[in-house]
């Protein structure tokens, strides 16, 4: 629950170690969207390695109640351990809050490939924080690309998803809500 400042690594070895630690942590798949890594989703924040080799990893939840966070924490620690970095701590940071804008371009493409309509930009709707619920006007079917789609349920099986259905190919699909 603490927001940590960044420290600049001075020694080159630390930087190398830090890059390696980050690559390892970045590869951890999201438990609920396992085709995406936590880096794709923007859940992974800072990774630091101090002089003694201790790794600090900051992750942030997609939403307040996200119960996958514990699993992510465990998976990050396991991966680091497997890669010879057993001395690690995973911190949960809330600030700044996660938004769908943090999903990488790669992540957006993977979502689409797996039949999940990616979110539109959240920044406009939430930029001032006074958040009217963003209207998703042009959600395209991730399968056939048709814009003839409609929202079936604003809340989907996981908190970040809504359920939509395509008017052309008739198939239901998940849409990651702009948050």
């Amino acid at each position: 629950m603490v927001t940590r400042g960044t420290t600049t690594a001075t020694a080159g070895t630390t930087r190398t170690a830090e890059e390696r630690a980050r690559r390892v942590a970045a590869d951890v798949p999201d438990p609920e969207l396992p085709m995406l890594t936590i880096d794709d989703l923007g859940i992974l924040r800072e990774v630091h390695v101090d002089g003694s080799g201790h790794v600090d990893v900051d992750i942030t939840p997609t939403y307040s109640g996200c119960p996958a966070l514990e699993a992510i924490r465990a998976d990050v620690l396991t991966r680091l351990d497997e890669h010879g970095m057993p001395d690690a701590t995973v911190h949960v940071v809330l600030s700044p809050p996660w938004t769908t804008d943090r999903i990488s371009a790669d992540g957006i493409e993977k979502l689409r490939r797996h039949g999940i309509a990616p979110p539109g930009p959240a920044g406009g709707a939430h930029g001032d924080g006074r958040a009217p619920v963003p209207l998703a006007l042009t959600v395209r079917c991730p399968r056939c690309g048709s814009p003839d789609t409609r929202e079936l349920a604003r809340f989907g099986s996981t908190a970040c998803k809504a359920l939509w259905v395509c008017g052309d190919c008739a198939e239901p699909f998940d849409h990651l809500k702009a948050l």
Partner: protein, 314 residues
Amino acid sequence: DERDDAFHAIIDADGRIEPRDDMPDAYRRSLVRQMAQHAHSEIIGMQPEGNWISRAPSLRRKAILLAKVQDEAGHGLYLYAAAETLGVSRDELLERLHSGKQKYSSIFNYPTLTWADIGAIGWLVDGAAITNQVPLTRCSYGPYARAMVRICKEESFHQRQGFEALLALTRGTAAQRAMAQDALDRWWYPSLAMFGPPDTPSQERTATHTEQSMRWGIKRFTNDELRQKFVDMTAPQADVLGLRIPDDELRWNDERGHYDFSDPDFDELFRVISGDGPCNEQRMAHRVSAHADGAWVREAASAYAAKHATAQQE
């Protein structure tokens, strides 16, 4: 005829049938029944687990359980929507559930008596469901196959969380360990029964049904093959948990490369399917009364939508 030939050509090439493709009526009916039963199972399955949301022993476990039950409702929604691509509405399917014409998985006719049952359901019931469903990701009907891809991913996460919930118990106090073992004792055979009756040729109707479904690519393995997969996956996990599977016959068979095990009581399975389970009546009554109590809300939503559709046209 020509349309039949096109359908069979796709099936034979292990391709995907899509909603707008031609398909034989029997194939469509079979799929509707299978997808509906799957959707019904998701929503009825919320009841035994929902039973513990208010009483979860830690806030973290409460959050995990809430998220899981929410996932199941979401899967139900998704599956009903996928079934609608076959030209049958959710309302019709619910009506068939409520009138008893369509079934849901019998496993949900057992009660959740202790918190450990939540772990056992995640580990065993979701484990069995995944074993059943992973092959369906290659099912011949496109929307169902893709739904299975998505649902299996989320269910794998549930299974892992169920296992972890049990692990916390078996690494906990004596009372917690006893609770975990008791849950395994009660849920083991009902979980094995989830794969359906055995593949004996004597039960010809069932066998024929299975064969037809396999020819159509909407079933990929026989019941006994799936049951074996499940036992092979689960038995070593029980060892990790330090729990004893309540089957004296259970042991590794080097020759077969599989675990030997005793079958569940299939007579009980048939009794429970046909209504004689501890919770059949309770589950249906709960479901039907929720639906009936909500009728006025659904009517209001329809009336509102109709008014505003009219208003827009004017």
